[in-house]
């Protein structure tokens, strides 16, 4: 089961991203609808469509049902980014109406649930996850926020520059391990 975290600047540019593979086994949630998918075309565009509709990950998960870790391929990663980007629509909509920073499960797309955390500085933390883990995600977001604030204390760091700090990365990973 994997989690995908993105830190997005106000101009929708990711300044940090993390893919975390949890050791927990994913719940088999596959619907019969998505089984037995046909390979209906061999053109490159079909591949794009397959990926975007989430079919490739569905079939993939079937293949590695036994293993705990699912590998995110290049195509897959692009789709996940697309989903994260698309979920901004809902997040922006909700954050205008609500003052809460933690937006629990604001969006669902394909098999992914999107939770978000909006800082007062309009940074958006977006987490794509498959299972419900409300408390864990909330704690994780607060951890990341704190780490982010510590990074931002650096006067040479602007809101738009990517975070390349190794310390930040290590700590976020540790927090992800702890909570997710």
């Amino acid at each position: 089961m994997s989690h995908h975290l993105f830190l997005l600047s106000p101009s929708d540019t990711p300044i940090y991203s993390l893919t975390h593979y949890s050791t927990k086994l994913p719940q088999p949630t596959s619907s019969s609808l998505s089984s037995n998918l046909p390979t209906w075309s061999t053109s490159a565009f079909a591949g794009t469509l397959t990926a975007l509709s989430g079919a490739s990950s569905a079939t993939q998960s079937h293949h590695v049902q036994g293993g705990a870790v699912r590998m995110g391929g290049g195509q897959d990663r692009h789709v996940i980014q697309m989903i994260a980007n698309a979920s901004l629509d809902v997040i922006e909509d909700v954050m205008r109406k609500e003052s809460a920073m933690y937006l629990k499960s604001v969006d669902k797309f394909n098999e992914w649930t999107v939770s978000a955390f909006v800082t007062p500085g309009n940074m958006k933390f977006i987490l794509l996850h498959e299972t419900k883990n409300d408390d864990g995600i909330r704690s994780f977001f607060h951890d990341v926020w704190e780490l982010y604030l510590k990074t931002m204390l650096n006067p040479f760091h602007t809101a738009h520059s990517p975070i390349r700090s190794i310390v930040f990365d290590t700590r976020v990973r540790a927090s992800a391990k702890k909570y997710l």
């Binding site: 929708d12 019969s32 609808l33 794009t48 692009h78 629509d89 109406k97 969006d107 669902k108």
Partner: protein
Amino acid sequence: MNSHAFAALAHIPILVFPVGPIPRAAFEKYAAEIRTFDSIRLGDIPAGMKDERARFMPNPLSSGYLYLSYPSHPPPPRHMSLSLFRPSHFTLGIIGVAACSSSYSLASALEQFENTVLDIFPEGSTFPLAKVCLAFEDEESAGSTGLGDTLPGIVSIPSVMGNKKLYIGTLLADLCSHILAELGRVYHVLESPIGNEYLNSALFPTLPSPSEMPLSLSSGNLGYPSYSSQPELESSGLATSGIQIKRSSTAGPGISHTASLIQRQTTLGPPAVRKRISAIGAVSSHGRLYKVLGDFFLLAGRTEDASLWYAEAIVLFKTGQDPVWHGSVLEGMATVFVLDAWSAGQGLQSSVSNNGIKEPWADIYDQLSQSIALYQKAPAPSEPSQDHSLLALTYCTAVMRQTSLLFCTWSTKGWGALAFASMLQPASTSYTQKTTSDNSWTNLERISIVSGVSRSQIANTVSQAHGPWLLHLGPHERLNILQSMATIYSSLGYKRKEAFILREVISCIMDLIVCGREENDLSRKSDVGSANTGNRSENGDEVSAVGKGAVGVRQNEILEGNQSILKLLVRACKVLGVDLEAVGVATATDGNSSEAGGRDSNGFAVEDLEGLADAARESFGWPELQVGVIREAIATALDPLAVARISLSALRTMHSVLASSDQYHLYQTAGRALAAMRRRGEAPAVEYWAGNPIMSLALSPLALHRLPIENPFSILTAKSSATNSLLSGIIDPFLYNPRKSSGPQSKNLIVQDEPIELTITLRNPYVFDLEIQSISLSTTGVEFESSPVSALVIPPNTLYSITIIGTAKTRGTLVFRGCIVQAPWGAPREFLLPVPTDADQNLFARRQSAVRCESGRTKYWGLDSLPWEKDGRRLSTLLPSLKNPPQFLQCVVVPEQPLLRIRWTSLTHGAVMLYNGEESTIRLTLENISALPIDFIRLSFEDSTIGPAQEALSEGELSVFETYETEYDLLHRKAFSWRNEKEITNILPNQKVVLSVTCVGKVGCAYGTVHISYSQVNRGHEEQVPVPEVFYTRQLSYPVTVTVYHMLECHDMRLMPMIDVDYDDISPRASNSVIHLLPEVDDPKEWCLFAIDVRNTYGLPFEVTFEREQAGTEIAAVSSTVPPGSMSRIMLPVKKFRLSDDQISQPIPTLSDRQFVVGKSKLSIEEEQAQRELFWYREELLKIVSARWKETNGDRHGDLSLRQQRLTLPMLKALRTDVVQIDLTLIVDNPDGSPQELDYSRGKYIASPNEMLYLRVEVANSSLLPLAMTLDLIFDPAEQVLSEGVLSSIAIGKVKPDETKAVEVPLCFLCTGRFEIGAEVRIMGTSKGSRASASRICISVREDG
């Protein structure tokens, strides 16, 4: 969106298609007329059936409606399995539209109609249930088509008929009546036991073809009903019971429904079926049958019956394992609910008040959710069959239905009549578009609040439809679903989600195109069916039109398809922050250039400057996604021009985030695309794309000898005062002069018809070699001729300089606006390069800092911060705008100028070696190599001693005396000088002249330059009306390296009174023949001796000559040879002189006109007086004495400067004639009593001891005033001298001018030896210490004397 109308389950779909040769416009017209009937009152349906076909007939006075929909094409044959599960999915009726004319008869129309129906619906399919062909008569051929003969199955409509619409309505009602009748027949088959078995046989059962049916059923002619076929009258119990049910169900309110239901159930209908089933032995439930019954009732517009039978079905399904059918029942119930609400609220237009706790639609929503859940958990069909696809379709349709419920409610601002209308007939209400056309967040949110449906709710609902199962769907359904989703997201204002879906839509279309091409390659047969239907779809559904149209793009040459795909791409990419149209297509080439010239230059320049400022702004978007989407876009775009534009746009806008491999790839792709286009013969040029490649444009300075210099005409008339120019090197008295910098900028002068060089610095920010086809200059003003630089390759990531050579053709002002750059296969584009003024730069810096300040803050976020939307946005601070028109690089083109060159010089290697003070001549041969005569020539010089001297002068730290010396040095001892002896003024073309420049060796001079300024001033042939105020000269410079050997040093100048000179001493010491000069010294008191040491520090002997040239004396000269390394003392007697008081009281003059000379010295008046006196006497002395040197073994000679020597006060005293002359004489009385002067020899008196002597002191006043004087006498040694009277302050009294008074003092020397007697005269009334004059004598007292 037609297919996803909420109430599609209640729609009777009717297919309208053209028959025979009918013009498209005519067909569209008739079809539109037919389509206006979207519902038909139940009361209008003719009901004449008596048998089982009457089951679904409305009762005569019922108030409901039949709802018609007109799909553009029939469902594909793959969906045939759904025929019983979802009859509303199929076209139940068919209308053919034919145009009859004289050439096209009714019969042939009918035949063609039948054939087409057979083509579309193969024999054996359940649907369509009824068909009719309408033949519209042409207006021209009215009456000639034989309308009179009626054929069964075709209805002709004469053109003369007035109210066609009414007639069409009647025909439609007839058709519907037949459809309903046929539904009854189908149901009749199903309710038979075998029919029920078939119904329960599979997940999506179908009725077998009539031939396979049992005999009793085949007579029903189910598969191929037609209008013409007269149904056989089969009387059965069921038929009558059906009519009974119908009657009773519409008879009254709810109780009677149940009553009739119970009655029916107990007596007739289903129980009978059950009996028969049991008789056969099957245990199939009747749930499906009831569901079908409900569906049919729903289609027939009888909602009460439908809901009754649905309820029945649910009861049965609750226990059963048939989730799909169960879900379908729930869907049907939801539809019934809405239809009921619609008919209840249709009369009153006000919206139904929602005073309940739950929203009124919540129940429907829950029902649909339940249904969706049921579909989802339906067990997967074991065998991979069509069922997967159909199940997925059902699921997606259900989700879309649920979405449609929410969306219609939302878009019509709440649960009400409008919402029902849009759910029932989405096509007829344009309200949705109106409300959601304003896409601002406030408007959308307002709708949400008004309607009580939140946008995220809709979005979450619709996102259920998206999943891997989309792959199960056929291409058309998939497109349809995706496109509906995209529309909904778009209406909701969820642009990113829309972009996501659009990418899938594009992929779908592209896949179809790719597959279509392959199919085309396999079989060149045109797929008429799909193309036709594609063309026929007129619901404004762009996507499907594209999909179908693009399949045949090669044959049809329809560009719309490609353009539409591009539009989709651009739309999707824009959301991700990629502007695919950043690089436009240039218009016609010549038009572009003229436009560029005519356009206001301000806009350009400001844009350029702002562009620079924008570079500081932050980027937008998700780089990885952007790169991905661009790759995809390039793969998608079919048109090479589009490919090129996309790649170049990406390079232009995103090169900062693109990896180098991507940049290479994009560049190559663009190049290939452009090359392909060129190969095809198309030549649309793309705009220049590679940012602003021009970094700077600079005029290379002209070579110095070609550079024209502007001079005012006045210098020709005024006599040039070289004094000033030389001495006032740095005359500006202010350290900082604000006027100096704000003065007119130095103009760039270039000469007409002479080539100039411009250096252009180009920049390539990319990682590949940037090719530039040509670069040319853009100029205004004077005609300028230059050849463009072509085929240029700029290495990656570098700055690159090129040089352009050009010539100005006429004189005037030339402005370089910038450069015109053209990329390969691109259109030329002009880049302006303004030369910013200080104010501009200031503004620019402020703008930049404002932008930089802004970059950390976020005022707009998300899609509002798209880069191209930013310009319209407000920033938190107001950016200062650049108002002034930009300044460009300007040149003044001056008229043609003559050109001189130095043909020959007398120097080798431009070097001259001189002894200090030596004078030499440099000869320069000049040649006029132009065609113009030179009539003005002037020389000026420069040497290395001038600078330091001028600097010392300007610092003002020098004393007055030193200042004078420095200035004297500058003015009278120039290192170079030119005496225009030959009066050279004119140099004709190709003439040579020789100039002689005098060069004087001056210590410290290391190099010098001869500047020759020349011009043609008088240009008789071109008389200008306004006499120009300026003329231009050119300057030729000839540098000279000067080496000056310092070989003779003078120092230790002395001036001694002649009286004191010990001739014995002189003789051995004087190296020159001073002795022979001594005789002329008649009176030692009148003379003094000038002595100076001359040292030779050089390696050669020099002969030094000192000359005296004094008034009242003969010219005398002494010379001496000074050997190397040794020193000689030169002595020269100089006659004393005295300067008048007037002369010495003048201040020390300054040779320049410098002002602000404030005496820094704190000298008292006396001291100052003394200084002046020293100064003037020294000047006089230097006039008298001059020194020359000469090489002993050669003939080189020169002057020896004495100006280093200082005059001291004792020397002054020696030089100056005293005011008072004292004459001391020793007199002895002769034995005869007559006084006699004592013996005087060799400057001494010789006396005897103890002899009475008289000292006679004669004082003469040589001044012009009478003076009162006293006299002091001093004896040395005083003890051995006896004298009478006082010796000090002996009053002499007033002595008139030129009068002499004498004082006599007797004295006696007491011993032998050498004595001295001094006398001092003081003038009364002056200060004590100042003696006016003094004199002394030496006496040698000897015994023998």
